[in-house]
Symmetry: C2
């Protein structure tokens, strides 16, 4: 339980866009779906080639880009750092910290199967605390 895997906390529904998607279309997707990132895929193969986040859109707004025309391909982060679904949540947390990122696409054998975010990991914190207390009580009980 303390080494719970990424599969246990990830969201299996992950939104994808292509390099041609415009910044404003991505902003609408984020607002409509209440999400903060989308994985950029090759439309022919479905392979993940990058990621676009709220912060990337923010930067386009900040520099005064025409968000209705600027394509994701010109400002996405590529290549993208990913994890596999069998990694522990602590490995995912360390990867996020070490790379100063908040979202990790989950890729198993080349296939995009989900995404895990700092929000997902935070939601797990109260459960982790209960695990500590239970572990302590169990061990003291013996």
């Amino acid at each position: 339980m303390i080494d719970q895997s990424v599969a246990d906390v990830m969201r299996a529904s992950v939104r994808t866009v292509t390099e041609e998607t415009t910044a404003s279309a991505v902003a609408r997707l984020f607002a409509d779906e209440h999400i903060g990132s989308a994985v950029v895929v090759n439309p022919a193969t479905g392979d993940p080639i990058g990621i676009v986040t709220e912060s990337d859109i923010m930067r386009q707004v900040a520099i005064g880009a025409d968000v209705s025309t600027v394509p994701v391909g010109s400002f996405m982060t590529s290549p993208v750092i990913t994890v596999t679904s069998t990694e522990s949540i602590h490995t995912a947390a360390s990867l996020m910290k070490d790379n100063s990122i908040r979202r990790l696409p989950v890729v198993d054998a080349g296939d995009l199967v989900g995404i895990v975010t700092t929000t997902d990991l935070t939601h797990y914190l109260p459960r982790l605390r209960n695990t500590i207390l239970r572990t302590r009580n169990d061990l003291v009980g013996h």
Copy 2:
């Protein structure tokens, strides 16, 4: 240690804006400072009256608002949910989960003293895991 407080993980430097700040000025602040939110304060008193996040700016872009003129006061979240610095990180995590939010301004006796985010709590996860393992070892050792 397992009930570490918000003061231990929060960022003490928190950016503030006023209701009159425009969406594009906020986007520039976020991009320049690599942050995802700012607390909206009353310029006369310094009291926190709301919060503006990347998602809020995203929604303005999504609806085609003129980001160079639309003021924060028209789309900020107000009132804002806050914590005190002496609360445990698990209380903060639960507050975020229950309210579907990612950032909590830290307010002590009416004064804004910091901000804690899902990112800060995620960075704490690997340390929490070590605590569990140490707790287990300590107890088994007795």
